[in-house]
Point group: C2
Chain length 303, copies 2
């Protein structure tokens, strides 16, 4: 890694939020900002103006480099940065940066991979790739299984510093839809406090044979027969869905702890479920994004 | 079965629709009516008035019996008819009728059962039970595996004329939510014509290992990589979800054809998927409701 790295402004521009950090010479966060200015809130052609409006003071520093990850590089974003195909590590990501201002501002591409199923179904991510590489830097590992929980949860295999394969699970979005728009929501108190025991009951239930399409209906009947209270039902639903996601990971190729990267609330749930299923894990927060963009800046050649 | 049965008005009062039929002395449909006056559209205390408004002329016939199945017997309906626990046949249903006007108007109870999972999760149905018994009458069978596709699809085991076990799958509701409210809907043309080949591609994909929470995301990526058109994506999603439901039925206890009861469009899809998976099946339409209420009227003692 370069030791005389130029100053870095790290930007994570997602669908609904925009986060930025100004990093010091050794990668430490000097200052960070967060706005609800995700790409959905930005009119076409206005991305550069929004960046300067919110981070213009940082961008004026001499020789500064700005790397932007996330949905800003999607078709609906600033400009489409084509997916970088797996296997991919820092080197491949660096080569696929889309320079908007040469040497100054670049979009980090997402990753794509080809599934091992008979249809070779493609999968994609945007933004998570920098968190993955950041987590590797932070933990000093070059091979790992990682999970990045969220609306679309990602399970990722890394070997020798390169992402070899990953899978997306719509766990977070299905939870939101079922609790807000389905019949299950009608008997559910979404303000109910997280109930760990009930959550783990859902995790246990999900490990048994039977489709999740059937198990979901238990959220209705357990409420109907007063086996669970309205306030407990969201924890049970969450356990069922996270457990269904984890059931697929029963045979993990790495004996080392699974790295869980995400918000504290989600990391807590995944950690509880993984430990309950006897899978060691270690959780990391949003700082992985900054570490990843810093490492990427160190390895790319912006000249 | 009684041969001097009193005239029957058979009513199927569901969540969003209300159907009724006037049956002749041998159970034939003399006249039928359908209204979008499901229980959600009826104010509390107004059920009797709505029944008389829409079927009052039929109810004036001397000695007429009116049996009402469906959600009208739920807590949100006319009056709650407690679930009849399985195993249950005609006799048990008849004993559990809730008489609103003794000998004249009764609500048919739904069925409940206790799951064989470690939590003994309860399951419930309302309205499907009369279709099941109607299908048995129509086919002359007293043991069968049945599927009643719909918003909440039911898989049912019948032995010696009694429902012994059943499971609900939220297949239809999950299809509606994913296609109308999720990110998958954004790239999907819901007006696209049903594509049988693509539907069966989804069925095939669902039979492989891997969670449906992951497989759903393929609806996005197959569109993104232009492997399927926007018009084909609903057929693929439908195949994935129906296939996921059928995957659980891989070992069917009965060598006889599975009885599929429902709307022609859904029966077509389930029949295609079952045949594709080498499971013989036979489909029946809504007439099963009238046959079931007729058989129930014949076996109960309204006096």
């Amino acid at each position: 890694m370069s030791t005389n790295q130029q100053p870095l402004i790290a930007i994570d521009w997602g669908t609904t939020s925009l986060r930025g950090a100004r990093l010091g010479a050794s990668g430490q966060v000097l200052e960070s900002r967060e706005f609800s200015r995700g790409i959905l809130s930005v009119a076409p052609g206005q991305f550069e103006a929004v960046l300067h409006e919110l981070f213009g003071d940082w961008l004026q520093a001499p020789g500064v480099l700005c790397l932007i990850s996330g949905m800003a590089g999607s078709r609906q974003g600033w400009q489409e940065a084509p997916y970088c195909p797996c296997p991919a590590g820092f080197a491949e990501l660096g080569q696929h940066l889309l320079w908007l201002k040469p040497g100054r501002i670049a979009l980090v591409p997402g990753l794509s991979c080809v599934g091992t199923d008979p249809l070779n179904t493609p999968d994609v991510m945007r933004g998570e790739e920098v968190q993955i590489f950041g987590a590797l830097q932070m933990t000093g590992r070059d091979s790992a299984t990682l999970v990045l929980p969220g609306t679309h949860s990602k399970w990722v295999q890394v070997h020798s510093g390169r992402v070899t394969q990953f899978q997306t699970f719509m766990t977070g979005e299905v939870f939101a839809l079922m609790s807000q728009h389905s019949i299950l929501g009608k008997t559910m108190d979404l303000q109910g406090a997280f109930d760990e025991a009930v959550f783990l009951q859902g995790v246990d239930q999900s490990q048994h044979s039977g489709s999740v399409l059937h198990q979901l209906f238990a959220v209705r009947t357990l409420g109907l027969f007063e086996r669970l209270s309205a306030a407990q039902l969201p924890s049970y639903l969450s356990g069922l869905l996270i457990g269904e996601e984890l059931r697929q990971q029963a045979v993990l190729p790495h004996p080392d702890p699974v790295l869980v990267i995400g918000s504290p609330a989600l990391c807590l749930r995944y950690t509880l479920a993984l430990q309950h299923l006897h899978t060691p894990c270690q959780s990391l927060g949003a700082e992985a994004t900054w570490a990843g963009l810093w490492a990427l800046a160190s390895s790319c050649d912006p000249s």
